[in-house]
């Protein structure tokens, strides 16, 4: 299937059509995650993508949505989000009340892939609304509207989840976790990461290799003062700045060191590491 096979979306579904991804997003597969996801989609298994920030989870979902030819509805979760933000609510307008589908309901009705980014950020009572969607029932009850939406055959739910959270009280319930298949993401291997950085930022493979070296070295400090390592996304930022003619060491300071730490000693050590690499 590819992007052209979306004709089963009727014109009335124009609202969903805007979520269709027309151009192939760049994604460099690191292992068998693409075929695994395709298999999971074939049986509409809900998927969970685990891994640190900036390692390509969101890009992967975009790519898969394009590859499978499904629209992608993405929702960044936060702790103020309520169930209504997912399923929809009645709004008041000049003529009285009007029901407005939430993003999840939209995806369920019209068969999109719904991607809940950083799902642990949402409160637990919010996340339980996805339960009936993620087992054999595949339904979404809209209590206020007194409606039971049966999921479109193409609908799939994907969530992302960064296990390295600070607060020990923030975690998914077991009953939520066990509804998903999971793919682990981490920073790609050296050669692949070089390829990605080079492709995305436009710098040559040589500079990209240096950036990746810096990132690998900095990841050695994770747990020794750094909470998270330097992500692939940050490397792409650094590469882009270098592509704009910024001096490499300065670009690395701006995009790699200053954002991740305020600890003077670590900044100094990372700065010296960067100088050692260029």
């Amino acid at each position: 299937m590819n992007a052209q096979d979306t004709d089963n979306l009727s014109p009335a579904n124009g609202i969903v059509r805007q979520y269709t991804i027309d151009v192939e997003p760049y994604y460099r597969a690191v292992a068998d995650e693409v075929s695994l996801f395709e298999a999971a989609y074939a049986v509409r298994m809900p998927m969970m993508l685990k891994g640190p920030t900036g390692c390509g989870k969101t890009r992967f979902v975009e790519y898969m949505a394009w590859k499978l030819g499904r629209p992608l509805i993405t929702l960044a979760c936060n702790e103020d989000m309520t169930a209504s933000d997912l399923v929809g609510r009645y709004l008041l307008d000049a003529d009285g009340t009007r029901w407005q589908d939430g993003p999840l309901t939209l995806a369920v009705r019209f068969g999109a892939i719904c991607y809940l980014d950083e799902v642990v950020e949402a409160r637990q009572d919010t996340t339980v609304v996805i339960h009936p969607l993620t087992d054999a029932r595949r339904v979404l009850p809209l209590e206020k509207k007194n409606e039971l939406v049966h999921a479109h055959p193409d609908f799939q739910l994907v969530i992302s989840y960064n296990p390295g959270y600070q607060s020990i009280l923030k975690d998914l319930k077991q009953s939520t976790k066990q509804r998903f298949g999971a793919l682990d993401f981490s920073y790609p291997e050296r050669e692949i990461e070089i390829e990605i950085v080079s492709h995305e930022s436009g710098v040559g493979p040589e500079t990209a290799a240096k950036l990746v070296t810096i990132a690998q070295r900095a990841r050695n400090l994770k747990g020794h003062g750094l909470e998270e390592g330097i992500s692939t996304r940050m490397l792409i930022y650094a590469g882009s700045l270098i592509g704009q003619g910024v001096e490499p060491v300065a670009a690395c300071h701006v995009s790699l060191i200053r954002p991740i730490t305020d600890d003077a000693d670590i900044r100094d050590a990372l700065g010296a590491t960067i100088r050692a690499c260029f």
Binding site: L92, G96, Q166, R217, D265
Partner: protein
């Protein structure tokens, strides 16, 4: 435990004052020394008494030595006796007394047996050179050691000795800081980049570069060591000079950085030590030089930017006198600096041969072959080479002792004053101190202690025993060696918490008013989630009448209404039970670094502020503490229980809290877990505050209690109880993550900030 009575003969010789002092401090002493050490401790007192130094010296010795032994190890502590006697010979009894009375300050500031010994040696040396200098230094020792490293202090003192050799009055003014010169030079020493200031940066840097755990330690120089300080390698440890003279500010840090990364390149790429065999000293020096260049080239393959770092230190120039030192410096430069031009045939040849071998650089043997060859050539040039005075150049390179295996040959230069050899000797020295470091703070002497406890409690222990509050409770303990639980192994006794003055607690709050206010702010943020009616919501469980009326008016006037017409009664989000568990072992009585207060006092302050915060938020909480005295006596104190008000009684108990005995963490965690198991709460949390790793008098395997504590944490988590640890032990990285898991701990590096950090931490992990 050895009893004081066994030493009655010695005691009688010491007289009534000493006996009185010993009786009151015997428990502490017996915990600080080994069996042999105790005897030496008392004999040391006799030695001082018979030497006629007077009672005040003996008493100072008896009072201070146990503390020094805990900080710097027994052997170093007893070294003070000889030092005091030697100093007494040049000065007076008062100064000798000060050697002891400041012993604890020195031991704590230096924190290392070898450093402490070097310090005593320095004092002795100074007493013989300038007796007037000793007393003023001892009087302001704390401040001096805060400003200077031991090396710096020694340099400053020797400068004073040298510049006023013939004028004792001027010398005295120098040391009492009454002369401008003394103050200025002190300032200058203090301004240098010193190793402790850059240690963390450097170790983070090395960890980032290599991803390995390479240790950095200070290098200790003793009497007679002259200039020419170089780093030295000892296995996976790099010993760095405490300061590099003549470098200030950024270049000091750069030099340290260059030295650290050069030495780490040796550790990684010089995989085997070169056997000295029949090599001549000149060849040893040249093989070292080529090896230095080789490991640098290998490191440059990974990190090309290092070239700039190192190159800046190569300043040798072509031309000038043809001495061995100059030629070697020029060759060293030629091997790293491609732009450097040199026409000396020997340098040219060395450079050519080295780069011809480029594809074999990964083989260590080329250094040996090339160095040998260049050594022969230089020998034929008849330039003089003196191994004793040879110092590796440039300054960032290490002394190269770590890459040679001297075998049974002995070191090439046994001369005492030889700087180059310092490293190797110190390495041996230090393997002992390393052990001491590990032992320190752990258990006092092994042996029958536990049995003594079981049969008849000795006199000294009686004061510590309290009436148990509950019937003894037995807990299993995990033995990682046999891989199973030892059933009913530990006995826990709940004991009444002694009461103190509850006003002391109020005072703590008053004293920390601004902190209390800050915490109040945070609490407010947390409290937003308590039951309140939230109006003007898009949805909710009831209508917001005011908003409805407004919306209706809008509708009637044909204006789009504000859709936020609902109200919610916010449900209380925090359904949390927290048990704060305090480690009340003996070590909490230690003074913190700036000596202003004890660990226990800080823990108390922190707990009071935390309790205040929790009471404000409305979380249900309990505060308990524990200390242990062997597996048959794990004491457990309940300062505040769940569902009891946090009132005067709890406060009085907190005020009366004392630190004693050891840390059997696992059993205490199990007992704490038993309180939480039955509680109906969405989240249950044990917040453990401890200043050290688990230990107890009857356990000699440091790993044993660590594994048991880990097991206890796991058992609790099976019951839905999280355990979070706030550790005050800077060395805790070694074990806390193993016990509590990767994310569930925090190691506090500035213990002073505990009262501030604990409530913040609580807000963070529970939010």
């Amino acid at each position: 435990m050895a009893k004081l009575d066994e030493y009655s003969e010695l005691l009688d010789a010491l007289g009534p004052h000493a006996k009185e002092l010993l009786e009151s401090s015997w428990l502490e002493a017996s915990r600080s020394f080994t069996e042999n050490g105790l005897t030496r401790y008392l004999e040391g007192a006799r030695e001082l008494a018979t030497a006629g130094l007077g009672w005040s010296v003996v008493l100072a010795y008896l009072r201070e030595t146990p503390g020094v032994a805990r900080e710097a190890g027994e052997d170093a502590a007893f070294g003070a006796i000889d030092a005091a006697l030697a100093i007494y010979a040049h000065t007076d009894a008062r100064t000798a007394e000060q050697v002891f009375s400041t012993g604890n300050i020195a031991a704590r500031r230096l924190g290392d047996a070898a450093l402490y010994r070097a310090y005593l040696e320095f004092l002795t040396e100074l007493a013989s050179l300038a007796p007037v200098g000793v007393a003023p230094i001892l009087q302001r020792l704390d401040r001096l050691l805060e400003q200077l490293t031991l090396d710096g202090l020694r340099r400053w003192a020797l400068l004073g000795v040298q510049s006023h050799m013939r004028d004792p009055n001027a010398q005295a003014r120098y040391f009492t800081l009454d002369s401008e010169e003394g103050r200025q030079l002190l300032q200058a020493e203090g301004d240098q980049t010193v190793f402790p200031d850059v240690e963390r940066r450097l170790s983070l840097y090395l960890r980032a570069l290599w991803g390995r755990d390479i240790k950095l330690r200070p290098l200790i120089h003793t009497k007679g060591a002259s200039a020419g300080r170089r780093a030295t390698i000892d296995g996976w440890t790099i010993r760095m000079p405490q300061s590099y003279r003549g470098f200030v500010g950024q270049s000091g840090l750069t030099l340290y950085r260059a030295a650290a990364v050069h030495a780490s390149a040796h550790i990684l790429f010089t995989t085997q030590r070169f056997p000295v065999g029949s090599l001549k000293p000149l060849q040893v020096a040249l093989v070292s030089l080529v090896e230095d260049a080789r490991v640098e080239q290998l490191a440059l393959r990974e990190f090309p930017g290092l070239r700039n770092l190192w190159k800046a230190f190569h300043v040798a120039q072509a031309g000038g006198a043809v001495t061995s030192g100059a030629l070697m410096a020029r060759l060293a430069r030629a091997l790293i600096d491609a732009d450097y031009e040199d026409d000396n045939p020997w340098v040219v040849k060395g450079r050519r041969l080295f780069f011809e071998q480029k594809q074999y650089w990964h083989e260590q043997s080329i250094s040996r072959a090339l160095g040998g060859l260049l050594g022969n050539d230089m020998g034929q040039m008849r330039v003089q080479f003196n191994f004793k005075t040879h110092v590796v150049e440039p300054a960032y390179r290490d002394d190269n002792q770590g890459i040679w295996d001297f075998g049974d040959m002995g070191e090439p230069s046994p001369d005492d004053d030889d700087v180059v050899m310092q490293g190797a000797r110190l390495a041996d020295d230090d393997s002992n101190t390393g052990e001491n470091e590990n032992d320190k703070g752990a258990q006092p002497p092994p042996g029958e202690k536990e049995q003594v406890k079981l049969t008849a409690p000795s006199k000294q222990d009686e004061g510590l025993r309290e009436e148990p509050l509950s019937p003894p409770i037995r807990y299993d303990e995990w033995d990682y060696v046999i891989g199973r639980e030892r059933p009913s192994w530990c006995t826990l006794l709940e004991k009444p918490a002694p009461e103190g003055d509850p006003h002391a607690i109020e005072e703590i709050l008053d004293r920390n008013q601004d902190l209390v206010n800050r915490v109040k702010y945070l609490v407010k943020a947390v409290q937003v989630q308590r039951p309140v009616k939230l109006k003007k919501r898009l949805e909710g469980d009831r209508l917001d009448l005011d908003a409805c009326i407004n919306a209706t008016i809008d509708l009637r006037t044909g204006v789009p209404p504000d859709p936020r017409v609902h109200a919610i009664l916010g449900r209380q989000q925090r359904d949390l039970s927290v048990l704060v568990l305090l480690d009340l072992s003996q070590s909490t009585n230690d003074l913190i670094a700036d000596e202003s207060t004890t660990v226990l006092n800080l823990a108390r302050e922190a707990t009071v502020l935390l309790a205040d915060a929790m009471a404000r938020i409305g979380d249900s909480f309990a505060i308990h503490g524990f200390s242990s005295n062997g597996r048959h006596d794990v004491g457990y104190y309940r300062f505040k229980d769940f569902d009891r008000p946090y009132g005067d009684l709890s406060k009085a108990r907190l005020a009366g809290m004392t630190g004693q005995l050891s840390t059997r963490m696992g059993t205490a965690l199990r007992h704490a877990g038993s309180f939480l198991q039955d509680r109906r709460a969405h989240k249950k949390l044990i917040l453990l505050v401890t200043d050290g790793e688990p230990s107890d008098i009857d356990v000699h395997d440091a790993q044993y209690l660590v594994f048991d504590a880990k097991k206890a944490v796991e058992e609790n988590s099976r019951h839905g109880i999280f355990t979070y640890c706030m550790s005050l032990d800077p060395k805790a990285d070694r074990y806390v993550s193993r016990i509590f898991g990767m994310r569930n701990y925090m190691v506090l590096d500035h213990i002073r900030r505990l009262p501030e950090k604990l409530p913040m931490l609580y807000m963070r992990v529970t939010n």
